[in-house]
Each structure stands twice: as C-alpha cells, then as structure tokens.
Symmetry: C2
Subunit: 699 residues, 2 copies
Amino acid sequence: MNRVGSGAQRILPAICLAAMGACMVNAQANTPLNIMPLPAKVERAEGSLKIDASFRLAFAGYREPRLDRAGVRLERQIQRQTGVVILRSNKSSGPPTLEITTDHESKPVQDLGEDESYTLDVTPIRAKLHAANPLGALRGLQTFLQLIAIAPEDFSVPAVHIEDRPRFPWRGQMIDSGRHFIPLDVIKRNLDGMEAVKMNVFHWHLSENQGFRAESRKFPRLHEQGSDGLFYTQEEIRDVIEYARDRGIRVVPEFDMPGHSTAWFAGYPELASGGGPYAIERQWGVFDPAMDPTDEKTYKFLNEFIGEMAKLFSDQFFHIGGDEVNGKEWDANPKIQAFMKAHKIKNNAELQAYFSGRVQELVTKHKKTPVGWDEVLVPGVPKTIVIQSWRGVDSLAAAAKMGYRGILSNGYYLDLGWSAARHYAMDPLGGPAASLAPEQKQLILGGESCIWSEYVNAENIDSRIWPRNAAIAERLWSPEGTSDVASMYARMETESTRLEWLGLTHRSFQRAMLQRFAGSWTPAEFEALRALAQALEHQKDYSREASAGSPPSSLTPLNRLVDAVYPESDVSQRFSQLVDQFLGSSCKDQAGAAQIRVELERWTSIEDRLQPLAQRSHLVQEAAPASGALSQAAKIAMDALDAIQKGAPISADQKKIQIGSLNALEQQAHKSQLTLPELPAFQKLVEAASNSSLCTVPK
Amino acid sequence: MNRVGSGAQRILPAICLAAMGACMVNAQANTPLNIMPLPAKVERAEGSLKIDASFRLAFAGYREPRLDRAGVRLERQIQRQTGVVILRSNKSSGPPTLEITTDHESKPVQDLGEDESYTLDVTPIRAKLHAANPLGALRGLQTFLQLIAIAPEDFSVPAVHIEDRPRFPWRGQMIDSGRHFIPLDVIKRNLDGMEAVKMNVFHWHLSENQGFRAESRKFPRLHEQGSDGLFYTQEEIRDVIEYARDRGIRVVPEFDMPGHSTAWFAGYPELASGGGPYAIERQWGVFDPAMDPTDEKTYKFLNEFIGEMAKLFSDQFFHIGGDEVNGKEWDANPKIQAFMKAHKIKNNAELQAYFSGRVQELVTKHKKTPVGWDEVLVPGVPKTIVIQSWRGVDSLAAAAKMGYRGILSNGYYLDLGWSAARHYAMDPLGGPAASLAPEQKQLILGGESCIWSEYVNAENIDSRIWPRNAAIAERLWSPEGTSDVASMYARMETESTRLEWLGLTHRSFQRAMLQRFAGSWTPAEFEALRALAQALEHQKDYSREASAGSPPSSLTPLNRLVDAVYPESDVSQRFSQLVDQFLGSSCKDQAGAAQIRVELERWTSIEDRLQPLAQRSHLVQEAAPASGALSQAAKIAMDALDAIQKGAPISADQKKIQIGSLNALEQQAHKSQLTLPELPAFQKLVEAASNSSLCTVPK
C-alpha cells in the first residue's frame, strides 16, 4: 500500500507467514496486506506497481478461452475498484503490467483435489503470476485484485512475493433455493463472491418441501406443479454451471430424499408413502411426507430422474440429501409395514438405510459419486459416499475413522446469525478430528457454509451470506493456525467493500428496505431508523421460530426490521471495543468516555424520534418493542456512565435492579425477534458503576 | 394513505386539480398524493384498498402479450415496494384487486400522438383501470404503483378517481452513448425510470467524435474501428427497442452528421473532408472533422447506411444531428471550395444546408421523418422535419411560426447540474411560444431532457439523470400551470426512492464511489467524507471544463469527488430552508438556531477529520481545496450565528471581509471543480449578523 517512489525492489529479510495473521514487516510496509483468505506465504518488498490506464495483461504458456474471459473480468474489476479507464483496444507494445503464465490445462470437468496453487511476484515494474493450470491462475488473479489499493499518489499494488495453495480441496457454499426461490442473477453474483474468496464448490439445494426448483423434462410435473412457476430451466442451469466453471467452481446439485420432498409429490403423489393429496408446503419445519422406499416404482422413477440430472450436472458428485425423515408416513402405511416385516427391517432407520443404499446404487450406476447428510452413514454403506456433517465435528471424525470422506457444515450455518469469529473458530480438523491419523485426516475434504432460506430471500440473502462467509473461506483455504481474529475482522471489512463492486448487495439492501418502512420521512426520522437497524441483530439459532407469534410461512413477507438488520452489527462491535478500552483504562480515558456517551445518546433518543414514523407505518410500529428496548437499555448504560464519571458508585441492590432491567429489555426486543448485541457492554458499564475496584472512580 | 377502516367509499365534494399542486381535500385525506407527474384530474374519497398476498390483477377487453408482461412487472414492482409475496400461481377465484380494461390495440409501431389517456378508480373494495389502448393502460399502471403507500396497518392505495392524459405528445430523454459508452443494462434501467414518470421517447445519441456505438453490417468498420469495442450489436438494439415498446416508449436513433463524426472516419476516412488520418477523438469539444458534402460517394454511403438503420430502428422518426460544424475542414479543402464556387454556395452554412437537404431526402426515401438540431432549420427545408431546439425557446417559437414542428431541449440539459426547480420552470410553451396562435402551439410537440456524457459514465449516469428528470417529465405531462415547486420537490423525493426499486443507482452509487476514495477507514473518517460529498455540488454549466487543470478526455477516470457528488444537494437545500426560517423568525427560533449550529459544526470539523485520509488517498487529497473551503466557510457562518445569538453585531467592514472570504472560498472549491451550494445561506447569516434590523438581536 505504501508507495515508495520507484525504488528498486529489495526482498526484505522478514518472512511473514499467514499463520502470523497481520504481516508487519518493516516501517515502510507496516500495513497488513488486505488479502482474504490469507496466502500460505507472503514476502513483502519495497515499492509498488502503479495501476493506471496503461495497465495491460498478457498470457503465456497454456492458453484457453476461460483464461481470456478471466482477463476481461480482471480488467473490469480493476475499473470498478479504481475508476481507472482500461481500453481493451489500447494494446501498447511495451511489456505487460501483469503476465500470467499457465503450464497446462486443468481437467475438462473440474475435479476434487486439482492443483489450485500459484505464485505471484510483484515488483515496481511489473507483476508475474504463475500457476500449473487455469485454476491456480484464477486464484492468483483474485489475490492480485485484492492487492490493488489506493495510495497517496495513485492506485497501486505493493511489491510482494506470494506462494499460495489451499489447505482443503473442498471449500463450498450451499444455497437453499428450495424454501425461497433465489433468482439466477442472485446466484451468479454469489458465485462472483465465492470466486473472490477462493471457494470452489457451489452446493445447490434444489428440492425441498416448499419447492422443486430444477426443470425436469422427463418428469415435468416436478417443476410445473412443485414450484409456483419459480424454477431454473435446464438452459439456465447449464449457464450457471458454465459460469461457475469460469470461476473455478464446481456445481454439486442436491435433490433431497426420501424426506424434505413434499414438492415432488404435488406432481407425482405416487412416489409418496401417504395417501395425499399433496400440495407445496408453505410452513417451515420437518414434515411427514416421504418417498415410499418399498415400491419399485419409486426406484424406476429415481433411476430415470437421476439419469437425467446426472447428464445435466457435469460434476462428479451428486448430493442425495437424506436428512430429517420423521417416519410418520411409513409408520402409518400397512404396505410399508408389511414390507419391513417381510424383509426383516427392524425400524425406520434401517428402512431409510435400505432406501439410501438403493439410491446410491442408482447414483453410482449413472457414474456419479454420492454425497449425503450425516444420516446416510449407516453400517455397510459403500466407502465411496461423502458424508456432509450438519450434526457436528464428532460425527465427521467418526466417519473418517471408519474410512469415509467427509465435509464439515456444522458450525458453518450462516442463517443462524453467528458472528464471523464464531464461524472462524470452527475447524474441520478441530475437536476429535485433531487426533486422527494423518491418512484419516486426508479423508476430511474441507467444509461448506450453508444458507437455509426460511428467512432468506432474493432481497436479503447477500447480507445473510456476506461478509461472514469470507471468514469461513479463510478457514478452509489458509494454513492451519491462521487465527488472528482482529486481523480477520479488519480484512473482512475491506473485503466486504470489494464484494460490493461485484454487485453483491449485503450492505446496500438495508437502505432500500428501510425506505420501504418509512414511505416518506424527515432526515432525522430516517437517521433514527438506520441507527436502530444498525444497532440490532436478528435472534440467533432457531429462536426466531420459537418467538414468532403466528407461524411464519413462505408467504410471510420478509419486510420487517428483523429481515433488514445485519446478522453481525459492526456498530455494536465497535461500541463493545470502546467500552472495553474505557474500562481497561480504569475509566480514565475521557475521550473514550465521550465517544461512548455520543453513541448512548444517539440510542436513547431513538424511541422518541421514531414515534411519528410508528404512527404512519405498521413496519415501524412492529419494531417498537425493540426500539424501546434499545433506548431504555442505553439509558441504563448512560446512568452507569454518569455514576462512574461522577464518582458516585451505585449500590449492589441498584446494580441488581439494573442488570435485571437490561435482561428484561432483551426479552422485550425478542418480541420483534431482535436482540441487543450491546447488552454485554451495557452490563459491563453497570458492573463498573457498582464496583469501585473496577474503575478508579474519582471521589 | 390514510387508512379509514373499511368504510364505504364516498366521493368528496372537493375536486383537486393537478394545477393546484398539493391536493388537500379533507382532514382524513390531507396528505398530497405522491403521484409524479401529477394527473390531469384527481378526486379523493374515503378509505383505502389493502395490498397484500391476495392481490390479483385481471385484464378485460382487448388483450395482448405486452399487457400480460406489464402485469408481471406490476406484480414484481409491488413486491419490491412492499415486500408482500404475490404468487403468480395463486389465482384466487374472487374478484381481482385491480381490473384493467383496454378497448382496442395501439399501433404496431408506437406513433407520435397516440392516445395515452386512462382513468383509474380505486375504492376500498377494488381498483379499476380503463384505457382506450395499451399505452394508456401502461400509464395508468404507473399511477397505481405510485399510489401504494405504507399505512398504520398495511400497505394500501387510497380511494381515488383519476382522469389523466398528457399535455404534450413527445416527452423524451436523450442519452449520449457516444462520448462514454453506456452499457445495455444501464440503458434498460433508465427506460424503466422513464416509464415510471410516463416519458415516451428514448432519443439515443449513437455516434460522436468519441465513439460510433451501433453495429453496422453494411459498414462494419464503423463500429469495429470507431468504438474501442464498446458498441451495441443489432441484436441488442432490437432488444432495447422491444424493451422500450413494452414500456410505451419510442426509440429515436441519432446519427450526428456532418460534424461530430470523427469516429466514423476511423474506419471510413473517405467520408471526411480532410486528409486524415483519423482516429477516435479522446478530447472533448467541437472538432474540425466533418463529412464531405460535395462528394457523391458520401451520399451513396449514407443512403446505404440510413437504409440499414431505418430497417433496424422501427420508429417513424430518424435524427440526423446537424449541430456544431466549425467548417475548418471545408475551408481547407480546395475541392470543396471549388464545388461551392461552381454551385454558387456562398458560405459554410449554405453548404451545410445543402448537405442537410440531401440527407433529409435519403431519410424520406427510406420512409422516415427526419429530426435535427436547430442548425438544420434553414430557408427551404421541407416542412416534415422536426426541429430539436438546444439553443432556446425563442428559436422553437420562431420555427413554429414558420410552420415547423419542434421539441424543446434547451433548459433540459441535465448534465449542466441545474436544480430541478430551474428545469421545472422551463416550459416548451413558455416565453415567446406563449403568444403563438393555437395551431402554431400544436406544432410544439413537447421536449426532451438530454444527458451529454463528457463527465458521465455507467457509474454515475443515473445520478446525473435522476431524480431531476422526474421534474421535467412532470412539466411535459401535467396540465399547464402545474407549478407548485415545494410540492414538486416533496413528490420528487418520494419518486426518487421508488426509482431505486427499479434498480436505478442515483443514490446508492455515491457510497460505492466514496469507498473507493478511502480504501480502509474509520467510521468517523467515512462519515466526514460522506458529509463532505453531500454538502457539495459539481460546478454548473460548462465551468468544469474551464477550471480543469489538464484537459480531460475520455480516458480521464471519473472517480473524483466531483464525479461522486449529487448535482443538487438536498442537505444544502434543507440547510437553506433552516436559515430562511430562522431569519424569518427575526432570529428568535432557538430550536432552528440549534439545528443550524449542528450542521455548521459538522462542516467545520470536516477538514480536520479528513486529514488522515488525505494522507493515504490521492482522491481525498485532490478534494482538499473543497473540504477546506466548506469547513472554513462554515466557520464564518458559525461566527455570524454566534454574533446574532450574542447580540453583538459585526461591523460593516467585518461583514465586507467575511463576504469577501466566502467568495474566495467558493473560488477555492472550484479548484476541485466543486461548488458550495450553502454559500447564499452563509451570506444571509453574515448579512444578518451585521444588520440589527434583520434580526431583533437581544442586547
């Protein structure tokens, strides 16, 4: 980032390994490089390479159209990031700014475990990217893009030597297009985001109780009667696969069976174990309908269906779901019960294992490798299957011990609203997996973040995925031990901005949604609404369902404040840091106290400022419990700050009352299905106000 | 907007004509309807029609696929505006929420002057839209969308009876794709915006010195060598025409000749009057290259070219440009001089008239009606031509007197950065046109806003067009005498938000551009940057070119603060209102004074707060003169406010110095090509501080 004239390059003695987190090398280059995920090895040098209208890239070695397209995207992205005009027609004769050398082709259909390594050398004169194949080149181009930064005189790339390769070969993102249909353009911009953070598998959850989203030409009633008209045509699916391949991303389809399959039965009730009639499910949850594992017609159908989809989806892997069958339709069906008795199948788990085995045979017959959720791992299942663990790292390690390959998704459910730090702490090789034998560790292929879409639609999905997904991407790419959370957050913030240049709307969607709340408004009203939204988070895990008044469904508008807040409030995060710093200074940091006061004052006034809007807007009214909770909780924190600064500690009884009030206010926020992430910081202030040993309170 | 239970509809006695501006009818419905442009006639009633998931629309009378597509768009737009889920598959059997009755078809190719009228009746039970043809239905659907508002209990449409028709038949927007290429998706979202405000002509400026943007299959070197690869294929052009027709918008192409044509000569130098060689022009301005009007080869070429384009563009009208020929190449070409002598052509104006006449013959031969800029109006030109006036309303009136049809663009150049109010004040039938005879007035067809793209690209074009274009659209649609500026601004603000739902980026682009400035930043730094951007405007008219240091070109990045500010600062507008109210209260309004102080404090601190960023970012550094000017000017205003509030008037000499300083600071801002729109308000405060008769200053 630091531009140091045109000084000659000099390799600095210090080598900065990714595992060290922030890479501070020397005084002239003391800003950590904003690369995410962190590369395996980074050596910084002096000087920087200017990026301006003379920018030119050139390819050497193995060539293919995909690389050319990547070059066009690179140039376009440079223009977006910097505003610099780069004319494709303007081909100067001098040496290229960036030369990309690729040794040989990659496989025609991208495969698990292909080489993705690259080296990148940047000097103040030029940049060279070298990779064994186009996949590595794609990864290196993203690193190059991330290195472009604004400088005192220009945009430039710092001189650097990078050697990089992924830790895990399977770094995926699952998108649930079943519960809410996610339009094609939204899928594509998320693929752009995945490319930016070097993810390489798009796991596409295409069928659910609430929708069957892929066109089937063999069984057209699947999408015709199972999707409300909201499905992807085969042409669109091919387009997505091509689009993903261009970005070094495999596309693994999932058709969930035998449960999670009501939408199939809308068009083909004969597949089901119950009597029907069946219609697309509108509610959320685990439902009774399940395929009939005892009827040969089911396997005949699935054979043809899987055959059709195996041709459509080129990837080697084919996901058959297999999760959450409650077995009620099986219990209630005498024919199925008779079958179980005749075949000595003792319980529903065994019946599902039988079904799963049959379906895996079909998948294998169509030359694909099956993937399934935890439940498919039963005794005797063939070793080819890949287990995707939603239950936990324990079951993943157990599977590896038994010789099964696996990927981790437990801990990577983005829809649960966890902090990036919490996702970041999850490691596919953590917990019991850490003590596996090396050859067992090899079986753990990586992980996948998942976004389940009960409360996620086209409008807010980006915000539910990004930027936190970048932390998971780093966990899966960067060397083991990469663990500096502060560095991760700093780089994630910068990456978040870059992701917006790709068209992702994870930040911009909020302003649009809040405008819907307000209709027309004064600037002060809108400012209050925005301050409210940015201070709150939606409830975590599955508590939203628990606290919902009427059961939500796929027809429930996702237009409320709970749908518009960020999953992780950066405002709250900064406030907590301020409070920690202030308390860490034994309450002596007056400037810090002043900053805390400014925030608290903003929050205390929100409830009143929103009154007029709440009169006009049912959406603002609906959020009144949360806005009241925030304002009143901030008032309690303000009283505590006053007590600290006045040197008038509060009594233990007062403290107890205040802490109780804060907890009650948190409960009140839950009425709007929101949570107050500032609460721990508020509690700390109350704690400090009552405890003169925490703060050296001036008498 | 007011929801009044499910009370029966009752037509209110008061009739609210658009000309009255804000429509205040009774206490229950006292919010002016947020319709823009205002309809010809609005009668409000009690109650409102709820918009929820049960929404259904139905068509009656004449049917066509375009109407069905408009219905799909309407439903999608309702979903965007409200978040309500409307499933197309969910066809309830009850009566439709909105019934659209169309009597008969419109012309296959939309024509000038076709009926666009409609009536819309909304009751608390249902809505009925009636139109003679699909064009009127399209207009009415936009009105319906604008009526949907958030209410205390739901989203709803107020009960209302509307009769509406346009004042002028030609309500256009010109986009200059020549100087900067404007990508297809940007064109399309602007067509969406035009539809929203009932504009009906997209004038597409497709060739310029800096670029030839339409694919020609007859003369492929036009786009191949004249566009840097940035052109629209014929398939894309057909797509745009179809897209526009779906929205009731005609597409009039412009190929500017004989001047403004350097890009043609890059591929076909034989058309030019000079010796060449020719290359795409990179600078801005009026240049020498012009077609050779004396060579029959020119007309042979243009005959074939116009023939090709006349087939591609279905509209009846075909724009041949004709502006700003400096004649230097003609003067310097002996062959041309000899031709003029031989044909008794006395000067370059006559030579251009000769050329223009020949080209008009070709256009007519290909069954199109020519349109040209002012300059094409010379004695003897056929009466069929339509004159587009960029010079002024006088020449438009003069043309009408001579029997020529005309459209006004003078006063509607959006790139000049005028306020919406200033554009709004321009009337095609204003000035000398007001005293034309009725049949002459009929010749004035309407007007066109123009966005010339020297300093406009894909990134900021939306902000240069919207929302101000809505004011021009209202001028061209709404009844004569519609003139309440405050009402216009209030409705434009709401319309601005709605336009964002269409994907227009006129507001959201700024945040993205400012992020580019900053790289990484603290929230306080970014807030300062945003406050700076929102307080400033770019220089008006053509002064930007005059104050540019090095001559800007098409390769100059448009990434500076001047490119990121809004043309009309609403922050500044509100501040000016605050100051006027405060002074209007004889400086007694203490709450107003406090609000003024808050704004001034924010501005005075910007310069300091941006210091660290300016160290790191050349783009922030470049804006330093403007940020310094704002902070220092705000300090002067603050001193004035202090003097007023302390009752300590400043002397006449002090006043003179302060006013002089303010003017000097405005000059300083010009170094960043920016202007301080707060200056008049600052001056008023200084004036008031020195003049105790303006304010009753407490002693």
